[in-house]
Every structure is written in structure tokens, then in C-alpha cells.
Amino acid sequence: MTVTALRSGSDDAASLERTFRALSGAGTAAELSARFHGALAARFGARVRIARTAPAGWEMLAGEPGPLPEAECAPGSRAQGETLSVVRQTGDGSRICAVVERPGAGEGDLTALGLFMTVFESALREIVSRRHEKDLIFSLNHRVLQLNSLIDTGIEVSSLECRSPHHVALERAASLTNAARGVLRVTRDGRLLEEVTFPHGSAAGSERGGGRKIGSSFEFGGERYEFTLLDKESRQGEVRFDGTDQLLLDALARQVMASLENRYLHRQALEKQKIEQDIAVAASIQQRILPKTLPRVEGYDIAGINIPSRSVGGDYYDCIPLAGGRLALVIADVAGKGVPAALLVSSFHAYLSAFLEAPVEPAALAARLNNVVVRASTEDKFITAFFAVLDPSSGALETVSAGHNPVFLRTAAGELRELSLGGIPLGMLDMEFPYQSETVTLEKGDRLLLYTDGVTEASDEEDRLYDGASPLREFVSRHLPDRAETFISDLIADVRRFTGSAPQNDDITALYLIRT
């Protein structure tokens, strides 16, 4: 090596100062390297190469390709022939080197190159530090974003207005974990019901294993929802999904499950509301077929009541004026409650009204009704009923019971009789059943009570029945108010007193007649 004279100290100091200023303005390592390359070229007027270590050896940062020190070369300054090289260790564990090929290079040039390298090293460290700071801020912001998005997504997918919560969750999961692709499969018993890919149309089939994908699944309503995210991205290429990614995906999948549960419950509530509306309509219809007022019949006082146990019930009663001044008294009870019972009551009322248009005896009426009710009802539905036709002038009362509770006749003389002759409940058997009737004569002061089993089977808190100790017989025998309406209200009060706070289990219907 030829030893050459050092430049004057002031020349190199000025050059170093210019270099320091030039490097300070660089925003990136590449830009910094380019500026440093320019500064070295200006100082040494020679071929300059700047490189740093990379996994595969040296990576050129600036300058023309040419020989570089061994990648394993220890930090230090070296002169070999006309080639000067300086290798420095950086803070992140890598090494940087500057190589100058200058004819006649000397010790002073090597020293100067070392000083320039120190300036470069310092500027590079600052850039790396700024980069790290930016990366840290970016990373922290991204964590905030993930948490925020998790909350927002939870709100969005739980909204009933969100049309497809599982689609939204898949998009958000892919975005928050930097997955390049995602797929959601919905299956039932292993059969694919729905497959959604993100982005739309991306190939979901090419799924590799290991850290290249993560998954989360849940089952709801017999359907399995399986989320899979694939190919986590980074600026450096594909990387493995980490624990946070799995937590995010699991959390989003849980949000979808909660959303599906909420939607299910909401649908149930709407269906219940709809059923309640239907029941209200049915109740309204049923109330219309029950008499608002009873006919006034000279020499008789009549009162009735119907208290459904639900909003719509299966009991029926009426007093229907017939041709020739006669009066039909009817009470009926459909097995079961609710809308089906109300529908059958409605049919019963329609047939009864039609059959009473023409003269008909109670036994024949029961037989005809049995035939039509058999056809109108299901196997588990039947009607118990009691029919009576009164001739008000004579007091003659012809009755027939179709499997109904015995009707009480309390005579003015103090006798209590039960009227129960008849036959089977209507609609129970598909056959021409020979109903039998009986005839009694009502005298002045005689009283007649028709009722349904809602009265006799009313129970108290300990499930004891109102009729268990025959209080009804006692009540009918002893309670003799002047007005039929008073008797009905007192009867209801007595039943209420007996049942206490126990709920009403069945419709309560009663019809009371006094021959005055």
C-alpha cells in the first residue's frame, strides 16, 4: 500500500460536518445509504460500496457491485492493497461495512473512512430507533384497534338489523388478524349448508395446515359454524398466526353465537306475541258467541256467567228463545283449553243455532250434535253438554245430559235433585247414540243450577277440590237469594274464598234459573 498524506484536518472536518447534515435529513435506511454513498464518493473520489449483513451474507445498500469483506469479518478497519474497508457492529446485531477502492489510498484515508462511518452509524442508529418507535406506536395503535373493533363488531352483530352476523365476523376476524383469506362453513350432520369465503370468491379449498391457519367453531341449533383464517400477512411475507389472533377469532365466533341465540329468542318472543294476538282475536270471537244479556222470561229470573281460565276458553252457555215461547238452556264444556277448544266451541255454537231453527227434542238435538262434533273435532276433543227446553207457562222442563256434570234442581220444598239422564259426551264416539231425556216440572220457587267442572274442580293451594266435601250441594241447598244474579255472584265469591290465592285452572261457567 502506498502511504499518502492525510488531507488537512479542516478539510475533513468540514466534509464530515456536511455529511452529518446530509445524513440527518434522510428518512429511510435506503435514502441514508444513498446520501452516505454520495458523501464518500465526494470525499474519496473512488468506487464506494456500502453493505449490511443479511441472512444470506452481505446485502448491498448503495454503490456498484464489487468485492466485500467476508460476512463473518469482525468489526474493525482494514487496508488491503488499494481497498479500504470498515466494518461496524450495529445495535440490532447486524453489521454494516463501507468499502472504498482508491488508487494510492493511505492510512489517513482509512482513518477518515472510519470517521465517516461513525457519522453514518450514528445516523443509521437514529433512523432505526425512529423506525422502532414508529413500529411500537403502530403496534400499540393496532392493539387499540383490535379491542375497539372487537367491541364494535359485538355491537354490530348483536343488532337484529345486522343481516348476516357471521359474514361480518369473518370479515372483521380476517382484517384484525391480517389473514389474507378466510372461510366460514355451516354444516348440519356433516352436510354443508353454507360456505362463505373472504374475500368473496377466494379459493377456500387450498387450506394448508400448521401455523398457516387458525380455526374456531361452535354449534347452535344443530348446526356447526366453523371459522377458518388462512395465510397471515406481514410486510416481510407470510408469518404464523399467534395466540392473540386465536383469541380474537374465538371472541368473534362467540359474539356470533350470542347473536344467533339472541335472534332465536327474539323470534320466539315474536311468535309468542303473534300467538297471544291470535288468542286475543279468538277470545274476542268467543266472547261474541256468549250471551251479553239473557232473555227476560215472565215468571223466571235467569243469570249466567263465564270466566275463562286463559284468555280464551272452552266453556259455553246460552238461553235461546224457541218457537212457541219455549226456551232452550244450554251449557257445554270442551275438553281442553285455548284456541283449539275455542274453535270447537265456535263450531258447536254454529251447529246448535242451526239445529234450533227447527223444532227439535233435546235427545234428538244431542244425537245430531254428536254426529257433527265427531266430524268437527280431533280424537282427543269432545264436548260435555246439558240441554234443557223449558215451557215457561207450564214449567215443564225436558233435559238431556251429554256426559255433563249433573244439574241441580233445588225445589221450593227443600229437595235437591240431580238431573243427569242422557248419554255420552258429544264427539266421543262416532255412532248413532240413543240419548235419553227426562222431564220435570218447575214449580214456583224452584231453582236450577247448570255449571261446568270449573266450579267443582276449582282447587285451593293444597290441591283440594271445591267439590271435595260437597260444598256446592250445601251452597245450592242453603243459599237462596231472591235474585238469580245474586246467587251467581255469591257462588263465584264462595269459590274464590275456597281457592284463595291458587290460580284458576279451568273455565268457570254457571247458569241459574229461579221460577219466581
Binding site: 428518512g27 395503535n141 375497539n148 364494535d152 370479515e171 389473514a179 374475500p199 377466494s202
Partner: protein, 121 residues
């Protein structure tokens, strides 16, 4: 569901207007950055990015947008994001992009604002 990424661009006056569609991820972000770099090298210093067709952006895609912002900051340029989906707008906001970039409801509104502030050369 989000479509695969695509973009269109045009120069309106002296402003580069990029309109994206689909997932702004590594692929999408790189495509936006490349389109910007091509015009930036030719002297374009103001950019409007219409993200109306992109409902999903990931952090890799955002890192490319940040690079564009930094590049424009270094060279005294300006950038606006427009037609933002509320979720995307919130993401960009949390990531701090609007500290250095503007946002406008439409491309036209962004161009007007750039003209008013002398951002469009």
C-alpha cells in the same frame, strides 16, 4: 362480502385520484403504493384515495397508506381519503392516519379542499 382487490387511477389536474375496490391488505396496499410511487416519481404531490369500494382494511394495508403519507409529508404533498365506510374511517382514525391526512365525503369534495388550500399544484 368483500371482493378481491382492484384499483383504478386517473390524474385530475395535478392530483392523482386512486379508487380502490376490495380488501386493502398486503396485495391491495402494495398496489396502491406502487401506483402512488409511479406518479410521485413523475412529480405528483397531491393524492386522493377513494376507499368507497373497500369495506375492509388490515394493518398491513394500512402500513402502505402510512408510507404514502410519510412520503408526501417529506415532499410537502397532501393526501385525502374519501368515501370512507364508517368502520374503515374508525380504523384509520385509531391508527392515527388523520393526523397527517385529510378526509372528505367524496372525491370532488377532496379536490375542492385541495384547491382551496393550495394542495393541488
Amino acid at each position: 362480502m368483500e371482493q378481491p382487490f382492484s384499483l383504478t387511477s386517473e390524474v385530475r389536474g395535478t392530483t392523482l385520484v386512486i379508487a380502490t375496490s376490495g380488501y386493502v391488505n398486503n396485495v391491495g396496499g402494495e398496489a396502491i403504493a406502487a401506483e402512488f410511487a409511479r406518479h410521485n416519481a413523475a412529480g405528483v404531490r397531491s393524492v386522493v384515495i377513494n376507499l368507497g369500494g373497500s369495506k375492509v382494511v388490515n394493518s398491513v394495508g394500512m402500513s402502505f397508506l402510512i408510507e404514502i403519507i410519510e412520503r408526501l409529508q417529506d415532499t410537502g404533498g397532501k393526501i385525502f381519503f374519501t368515501n370512507l365506510d364508517p368502520a374503515v374511517e374508525k380504523m384509520l382514525s385509531i391508527m392515527g392516519l388523520f393526523q397527517f391526512a385529510g378526509k372528505a365525503p367524496t372525491v370532488e369534495a377532496a379536490l375542492q379542499e385541495l384547491a382551496a388550500t393550495g394542495g393541488a399544484q
